[in-house]
Every structure is written in C-alpha cells, then in structure tokens.
C-alpha cells in the first residue's frame, strides 16, 4: 500500500509540473506575441497630418490667400508651402498622401479645386478598405470643415490623409 501511494504522489507531482510547464509556455508565448507587435501610431499620425494641412489651407476660419482670392483659385496654388516633408531616409518611397478638396457650401458633389501632395499610389488602398479594413494596408482618414474666403464666400473643405508606414506599425 505504501509503495502504491508513493508512486501515486510522484505521478501527481509530474502531472502538476506538466501543467506548470504548459502554463509557463502559454504565458511566454502570449508575452512574446504581445511585445513582438509594434505600436500602431498611424491613426494619431494621420490626424496630426490632417490638422497640419487644415492649418495650412485655412487659418482662423479664413482660407489661405495664396490659394484663393476674391473667389478665384490660383492656378499655381499647392501644398508645397505647408512645411511638410514626406521623404525620409528610412523609406524608399513617400509614405504619405494628402488630398484637399474645396466645395461650395451648396454643392458638395463637385469639387472646385483639388490640391494634393505625396504618393498617389496609396490612394486606391483606401477604396479597398471601404469594404473591409486591413491593417496591413494604408491608414486613411477624412476630415471636413467650413471656411470662408476674403469675400466671405462659404466653402466646405474636405481633407483626405493617408499614412502607410505598415512595416513600422504592423507585424507583416
């Protein structure tokens, strides 16, 4: 009887250690996976990008006079003077794209003028994500606001911001 009990205890100890090893393995795996994923900051980065562009095209509720004057858009108006730099030594291609559309307040279907900057190649990925969001693709955000020109004409300005940088923000 004594020998049988001792064998039973040994089996129980082994069983417990097996459980502990399984739990430890699970925790190690979970921690490794959790810290192995990069922090995805593209949503915040995109919002900051859109805000920077919004400040550039319209400040304190008035559209920049280098873009529009007396209700007429300048032909050479661009986002080049917005102090944005989309190239970087860490990327071969530009990782950003911005598109600004100006609409009359009573006609939101026809854009009066469109200004763009960045890599146009990322734009189609926003269309793909309208059906199903995928983190491996670009991060897209849109913002619209109201503004006036120097003649108090009313406009709605829509800004589309795109940030890629997938390799640094998503585990691919």
């Amino acid at each position: 009887m004594l020998i049988k009990n001792k064998r039973g205890d040994k089996i129980l100890s082994l069983y417990w250690f097996a459980i502990l090893i399984i739990i430890a393995g699970g925790i190690f795996a979970m921690v490794y996976v959790y810290y192995g994923f990069p922090y995805d900051v593209r949503d915040i980065e995109n919002r900051l990008l859109i805000n920077a562009v919004a400040d550039c095209v319209s400040y304190t509720g008035r559209i920049n006079q280098e873009i529009i004057s007396s209700g007429e858009f300048y032909q050479n108006a661009s986002l080049d003077k917005c102090n944005l730099i989309f190239t970087s030594p860490e990327w071969e291609e530009e990782q950003y794209y911005v598109k600004v559309d100006f609409y009359r307040i009573n006609d939101l279907n026809n854009s009066l003028r469109t200004l763009t900057k960045g890599n146009l190649n990322w734009a189609p990925q926003c269309e793909i994500q309208k059906e199903k969001e995928s983190k491996n693709l670009v991060q897209c955000s849109t913002k619209a606001f109201y503004s006036l020109d120097d003649k108090d004409n009313q406009y709605i300005i829509k800004i589309l911001g795109i940030v890629r940088k997938s390799e640094k923000n998503v585990r691919t």
Binding site: L2, N5, K6, D9, S13, W16, L20, A24, I27, F28, V31, Y32, Y35, P38, Y39, V41, I44, E45, L48, L49, A52, N83, L84, I85, F86, S88, P89, E90, W91, Q95, Y96, K168
Partner: protein, 133 residues
Amino acid sequence: MIKKRGKKGTILVENVIFIILNVIFLMILILFIYRQGNGAVVLEQSYAKNIALLIDAGKPIMEMKLNMEDAMALAEKNGVNREEIVKITGNLVTVKLSEKGGYSYSFFKNVDVTTYPDVPTEKNYVIKINGYK
C-alpha cells in the same frame, strides 16, 4: 506506527519543495514579463514614436520636456551616454538605449529640431523646435 511517522515526514518535505519550486517558477515568470515590458527594444520604439508625434504636433519655438527617467536609467546601465539617447537626423528620430540597438521613426513636419537632456532634473529630455527649414 513507525511507517506512519516516516510517511508524514516525506509528505511534508515533498510539499515544502513543491511550494518553493512553485514560488521560484512564479518569480521567474513575473521577472520575465517585467523585463519584456521594460526592455530596450520596447522602450526605444515607444520613445522614438512618441517624440516623432510630439514634433508633428508641435509648432516653431515650442520647447517640450519628455520624462524619460526609465529610458535614461536603462541607457546608463547599458553604457550609452545621456546625450546620445535621442538623435535627430533630418526628419528622422533615433532612440538608442543599448550599444547595438536603436530605433528610428520619421516625422512629416519640415522643422529644425534640437534635443538634449535636461540638466537640472536629470530625468527629462528637451525637444526644441527651432523653426521651419
């Protein structure tokens, strides 16, 4: 009677060893999780992205102070000078907390930025946006 006494002794010793091993096991797990969360790789990435976003959100002549106490302690432990922790080259922020490590992240604002450790507090890093380029 003698057998019973012997058995009780064995059970007690086995239980004590089992409990000690369990405690050691749990301590190793907790230490592993703590070290993972405070490791150079995680902190480098976190601070590089944090600084890049601060610059993107900032405007010229802004001076920001970022508490990097944990990063500075780790850098000191790994033999990295305080002045070399944060470097900005063009529009690329690089945070280095170990000799072989380093993580870079770019910002989109075309600004001239200088970074240096805050002398009086010895735990903050100063990020100064001097102006547009």
